[in-house]
């Protein structure tokens, strides 16, 4: 502090005032020096979505990377039906915003690190203030983007390598990878896809990674004499390197889905496997025909519906739980509900894949039992079970609670061939271990493996259990000895499989309802399922005219990428075909003009006619010979008779 005393010269007083002013001006400038620097905000997309039908509220948990300071979220608001005027947004149960309900609007949800719990922040939507109002609206929040400062915690161990907030995982193998590295790469893809069943992008790439960032994970596989796994960073991208060979490498890759990874420390891991993952366990533990499987065993815990108006729950019952295709599903749902006020009408409706399969009015008896059945066209590979509580409002405003017990409720299935289209019968026709082979049209095994990986991700996310791929020869699939996936297939492969769609020149009929065109001389690629004896082979292949070069391979990538984008539940046709324009369409069997190659295969049936004709001719000849002999014998008898008659009975 500067003290100004009486008698001090006027100059001193002026210097003191200047010093004070300078100090005051300098303070703000000192703050950046004195205080820690404020971090600039980073953004990253993350997974999650939440939907509210009618009036009410719902929430979802959004993963947040470890080690960051959460600044907020943005999301896209979707509104359908009779839109409410506004909706309320909540974070961690607290209302943080009230926004106009405009379809497509980007909304901002303030949030902070204190809202994070166990690595997630809970985001919710509340529609309407009158919970008993009648509304047909559907409001969704999706495409979440996190805004944060700081750096995500870099994983240092195998155990914490795969955190919940990861947005992309790339499995990297060398462009000239050997078969065992390819197999391990596929196993890694399946394991990671099993771990991340949401929006995390899982891909296989050759040579080098194509993505980077703190929320990206790279798994790099390569050959080595002995097995090792270690974690490092490349820039700010965490990398898990797994080296090894043969089955050890594949087992290590398959173990990436295992909870046992948490046991890994900071040092290099020299033994990594999870023999219990996937493989044959699917068929070994698959439910028997007609066996009642508790919903809890399918991952469906207690189902809760509460509120007034309409409340819904969604769960998935997959066919592959039963070890293969099913012809019918029977669900027995049992639970309890709160007492229903006398002035309220309430019921619970059950839908399977959008079809109403059961309904029960709620009355004085607080028990709830619903027996549901679906078969034939009502079934899918993944069956969406929706329970909907519909009630009128009571004067007291008391809501109704319904709880379905996941342990007491059961599902059983009638095994069969299933009534699904050929592609939609996957993955349940080949649960667990999946043989993967490369066909004659592939440019290289690693290149074809990229498509196999893309399809594997889609199949894995439609499977209950982990898929464990095994690289085999194409002949193992073509001779009908096992089910599997054949990628990079060519005409020879489709002929060997007797595929419905031959990988030769193809013409697609104009269905009159779409613009997909394919001329007979244009290259194309197709995904189809072929039944070979008792097994099924999923075939990704292509064809190109002789003067083309690699068009079919490029189109195979197009088909695989389309399936990867859409997800397996969207694959419902008989064929998925990409034309030379890169357009992909799902085709029914009769929209493809029958191919000469397919028809020519039936030519062998003529031999049956030849055989039958020859057999009849032989019988004709044999019969003629036999009858002639009898006639000769008869003639001799009669002549003898005549001779006897001529000589009379004297010789008797």
């Amino acid at each position: 502090m500067v003290t100004v005393t009486a008698g001090t010269s006027r100059g001193v007083r002026r210097r003191a005032r200047v010093a004070l002013a300078a100090a005051a001006l300098a303070c703000p400038l000192a703050v950046p020096v004195l205080l820690p620097a404020a971090a600039s905000a980073e953004t990253t997309p993350t997974s999650g979505s939440v939907t509210v039908e009618g009036e009410g509220g719902s929430s979802t948990s959004v993963p947040v990377p470890d080690g960051v300071r959460l600044r907020g979220l943005t999301a896209t608001l979707s509104v359908a039906g009779t839109a409410p005027a506004s909706v309320r947004l909540t974070v961690d149960g607290h209302q943080v915003a009230r926004v106009r309900a405009k379809d497509g609007a980007t909304v901002r949800l303030p949030a902070s690190t204190s809202d994070i719990e166990d690595g997630y922040v809970t985001v919710g939507v509340i529609v309407g203030d009158d919970v008993c109002g009648d509304s047909d609206s559907e409001v969704s929040l999706s495409d979440f983007t996190l805004s944060y400062s700081g750096r995500p915690t870099v994983p240092r161990t195998v155990g914490d390598f795969f955190s919940d907030a990861v947005t992309d995982v790339q499995v990297v193998i060398p462009s000239d990878a050997t078969d065992d590295v390819v197999e391990a790469g596929l196993a890694a893809v399946a394991a990671v896809a099993d771990r991340y069943r949401g929006d995390t992008d899982v891909t296989m790439v050759l040579g080098g990674a194509t993505k980077a960032g703190p929320l990206v994970r790279l798994v790099m596989l390569d050959s080595a004499d002995s097995l090792s796994a270690s974690v490092r960073t490349s820039g700010e991208t965490p990398v898990l390197e797994i080296d090894g060979q043969d089955q050890d490498l594949a087992d290590a890759a398959a173990a990436l889905d295992s909870d046992g990874l948490a046991l890994g420390g900071t040092g290099a891991v020299t033994a990594l496997s999870d023999q219990a993952s996937g493989a044959t366990t699917a068929s070994a533990t698959a439910a028997a025909d007609g066996e009642d499987v508790p919903l809890a065993d399918l991952g469906i815990e207690d189902i809760t519906l509460d509120g007034s108006g309409t409340a819904s729950s969604y769960d998935v019952v997959r066919q592959d739980v039963f070890g293969g295709s099913v012809d019918g599903l029977d669900l027995h749902l049992t639970g309890v509900h709160t007492a229903v006020p006398s002035d309220v009408d309430a019921r619970v409706d059950a839908y399977l894949n959008g079809h109403l399969v059961g309904s029960q009015a709620l009355g004085e008896d607080t028990g709830l039992t619903l027996d549901l059945h679906a078969d034939g066209d009502d079934l899918r590979g993944d069956n969406a079970l929706e329970l909907r509580l519909v009630s009128t409002c009571s004067a007291s405003g008391l809501p109704i609670d319904v709880e379905i017990s996941g342990s007491d409720s059961t599902v059983s299935a009638t095994r069969g061939t299933g009534d699904l289209g050929a592609l939609a019968s996957w993955p349940q026709v080949a649960p667990g271990a999946l043989a993967v082979a490369v066909g004659s049209a592939a440019s290289s095994t690693p290149d074809a493996a990229v498509d196999a990986a893309t399809l594997l991700v889609a199949l894995q996310r439609a499977s209950t259990d982990q898929i464990v791929p095994e690289l085999v020869d194409a002949s193992d699939l073509e001779d009908g000895s096992r089910s599997g996936l054949l990628v990079g297939a060519g005409e020879d492969d489709s002929d060997a499989l007797d595929a419905g769609l031959s990988l030769s020149d193809l013409r697609v009929l104009d269905t009159g309802s779409g613009s997909f065109a394919l001329a007979s001389s244009s290259p194309f690629a197709a995904l189809q399922s072929v039944r070979v004896g008792s097994h099924d082979v999923l075939v990704l292949g292509g064809w190109e005219p002789d003067n083309a070069d690699g068009d079919d391979v490029a189109l195979m990538h197009t088909v695989a990428a389309w399936v990867g984008r859409k997800g397996w539940s969207e694959v419902t046709g008989t064929y998925v075909v990409a034309n030379d324009a890169g357009t992909v369409a799902q085709l029914a069997a009769d929209t493809a003009t029958p191919q000469e190659a397919v028809i020519d295969r039936t030519g062998s049936s003529v031999w049956w006619l030849v055989l039958g004709g020859a057999a009849l001719a032989l019988l004709l000849a044999l019969g003629w010979v036999a009858r002639r002999r009898q006639r000769v014998a008869l003639a001799r008898l009669v002549h003898a008779q005549q001779a006897y008659d001529a000589t009379g009975p004297s010789q008797a």
Partner: protein, 659 residues
């Protein structure tokens, strides 16, 4: 083994009966020497040798000189040239004159089993067929499947329109579809109730079903098959679920079967008659049903040809000469030729071209062309695929059990009888099936099932024409397996397995019945998946749901004033259930065009197909011309209001009435 003694010399001879039965020995009926097989069981009277002119080999031209008049003396070992313990052919007729004469030329065919035209049991079989058909029709009426097939509804409508139409007359028969089915339906569809319910077709086809069963029974009798065998043939017909299904509708296959089996029964009755029948009788009992069949379905045309060839061969084999063969064949073919000539003349008169039925816009070839344009006429030129498609159709429609039994019967027939008159008679029954296969291969028609490329369910009911052939072959198998004339060890084996001769026929027929029951149960397990004929009906029923709902509504709400409707593109006139004279439809020709140009002055009600694509609207033969007209000029219905609409049909009602 029998022992005979003459003059103190004794020996044993294994006695063989050549194609005879015990009852023939007892009754003294002139036996047929068939040289077919043997059984060593004789217990009646002394053994006698006889040669008759009835050697089957003789009819084939071989061994003619072996035919001699009867003689009667036992054969002694050593003297007969037959070694002791050897085998001797024995023909028995104790009542015959033992005089020995040189053999005349082969004469009459072997005596038939029937006495004149009367075949015992005919009426029982007919009544059983009627009962089975009636039960099936009642079930079909209750289940609502009588109108599943669009073609069934169309046949009823065509028949009705001959008398009940704005322009009645024979021209309502149309072209492509042959006229006899509609003429047969004509009296029954005069009842609006029978027309509306579809029972008119059920009545006709139940009669046809019973006739078919009766005809195969009689064919078996004419061929000398025993009762169990003939009953097995009837069982094959009456347990064919696809045939029963079709017989409850107004489809034309049952009528074809009745006429073709009737024709073959007439032919076999003539060929194997005890007495020599005239050409006129052949014409009446074979030629007339044949003539009717060629005007029923085109599959009968090769049958007519086959019958003509068969009769010619029989006559030539008898040694009656080419002149008689030609005369008899022409007599047989005359009704068919007259029928075809009439059909050509009709097409010329009504449509300006005698071959309109072959080449016109509604012809089978026109339909085939639409599939060819889409690359889906895949059987054309591909014999392997044609065979696969036919086999799939046969197994689904006729049944694997009957087919296997028939195959065994065909093998036995070929081995034992070669191409004799009886064998050829059964081959004649197969002519429509062979023709169908050829027709597929030639691309003349289309058939889709699980074996076709592409797959589908279409036109498989055509193979119902194979049912009588299969039935008769099964009957032959039953007859052979159950007959007593089997050689040596086989006789012992069959006795052990099938029981004594007296019961053998019943046992074998019973085993066949068990197989047929199993076949029926298998079909019943999944009708839509295992019977493509039923599947096709079901698919069409699903396709017609909205149209039928609209038709029912119109029938209930119609209050007069006429209806403008392109019924040819909709086919649901029976479901509407109104008199056809109330309709302005395509069958009324110029009257339809007139009404289409000015609906308001003609019809209070207008039926319009909705949601048709441009491609469907431009297809002249199958498109709804009312919809096409409205699409081109929406003002046509400006003074109409929609009274009913669903996803397929809109029904408009006129506002007010024209002054």
């Amino acid at each position: 083994m029998d022992e005979h003694s003459a003059g103190g010399a004794t020996g044993t001879v294994d006695v063989e009966f050549l194609g005879l039965r015990e009852d023939d020995l007892v009754t003294g009926a002139a036996p047929v020497v068939a040289l077919d097989g043997v059984v060593p069981a004789v217990e009646t009277g002394p053994l006698r040798l006889r040669r008759s002119g009835a050697l089957s080999g003789a009819r084939s031209g071989a061994g003619a000189r072996d035919a001699h008049a009867p003689t009667a003396a036992p054969v002694l070992p050593g003297e007969s040239g037959v070694p002791d313990g050897g085998r001797a052919g024995v023909l028995l007729d104790p009542a015959l004159d033992p005089a020995l004469e040189p053999a005349p030329a082969p004469t009459r065919a072997a005596a038939p089993r029937s006495r004149g035209r009367r075949v015992r049991g005919t009426w029982w079989v007919f009544a059983t067929g009627l009962l089975v058909g009636a039960v099936a029709s009642a079930w079909g009426l209750r289940a609502g499947w009588l109108m599943d097939y669009g073609d069934a509804m169309a046949h009823l409508t065509i028949a009705r329109r001959i008398l009940d139409s704005r322009s009645p007359g024979i021209s309502q028969l149309g072209t492509v579809w042959l006229p006899v089915p509609h003429l047969v339906l004509l009296p029954f569809v005069q009842s609006l109730w029978l027309f509306h319910t579809g029972l008119a077709g059920s009545i006709v086809n139940t009669l046809c079903l019973a006739s078919t069963a009766t005809a195969v029974f009689r064919i078996g009798a004419h061929l000398g098959l025993g009762l169990p065998a003939r009953l097995a043939a009837v069982a094959v017909v009456l347990t064919n679920v696809s045939l029963l299904y079709v017989a409850t509708t107004a489809l034309t296959e049952p009528l074809l079967l009745a006429l073709m089996t009737g024709a073959v029964a007439g032919a076999t009755g003539w060929v194997f008659s005890e007495r020599k029948l005239s050409g006129g009788e052949l014409t009446v009992f074979c030629g007339v049903p044949l003539g009717l069949s060629v005007l029923t379905r085109y599959e009968a045309w090769p049958l007519a040809l086959a019958c003509g060839i068969y009769v010619a061969i029989v006559v030539l084999r008898r040694g009656d000469g080419w002149g008689r063969a030609v005369r008899l064949t022409l007599g047989l073919a005359t009704p068919s030729l007259l029928g075809i000539a009439w059909w050509l003349a009709y097409n010329q008169a009504v449509y300006g071209s005698p071959l309109e039925f072959l080449t016109g816009e509604y012809s089978a070839s026109a339909f085939a062309d639409t599939y060819a344009a889409r690359g889906q006429l895949t059987t054309a030129g591909h014999l392997g695929l044609s065979l696969r498609v036919m086999w799939a159709a046969l197994t689904d429609t006729v049944g694997l059990v009957p087919l296997v039994l028939a195959g065994a019967g065909l093998a036995l027939l070929t081995w034992r009888r070669g191409l004799d008159d009886r064998a050829l008679a059964l081959w004649v029954l197969g002519a429509p099936t062979v023709f169908l296969t050829f027709s597929l291969f030639a691309g003349q028609h289309v058939m889709f099932n699980d074996a076709s490329i592409p797959t589908g369910a279409y036109n498989n009911r055509y193979v119902l024409s194979a049912v009588p052939w299969v039935a008769c072959l099964v009957a032959y198998l039953v007859d052979v397996v159950s007959m007593p004339v089997l050689p040596g060890r086989l006789a012992t084996l069959t006795t052990r397995v099938l029981g004594p001769v007296r019961l053998r026929g019943a046992v074998v027929a019973g085993l066949v019945a068990v197989g047929l029951v199993g076949q029926v149960l298998w079909w019943a397990g999944d009708p839509y998946g295992r019977m493509v004929v039923v599947e096709e009906g079901h698919l069409q029923a699903v396709d017609y749901v909205d149209r039928k709902a609209a038709a029912t509504w119109l029938g209930e709400h119609y209050d007069g004033g006429d209806i403008l409707m392109d019924e040819s593109a909709t086919l649901v006139a029976p479901v509407i259930g109104l008199p056809q004279r109330d309709f302005w439809n395509r069958a009324t020709g110029d009257l339809f065009d007139e009404a289409l140009a000015d609906p308001y002055d003609h019809a209070r009600w207008v039926w319009v197909r909705v949601d048709l694509t441009a491609d469907e609207l431009s297809n002249s033969s199958s498109a709804d011309r009312v919809a096409a007209a409205v699409a081109a000029d929406p003002a046509l219905l400006s003074r109409y209001v929609v009274a009913y609409v669903n996803e397929d049909v809109a029904i408009y009602r006129r506002i007010g009435d024209p002054s």
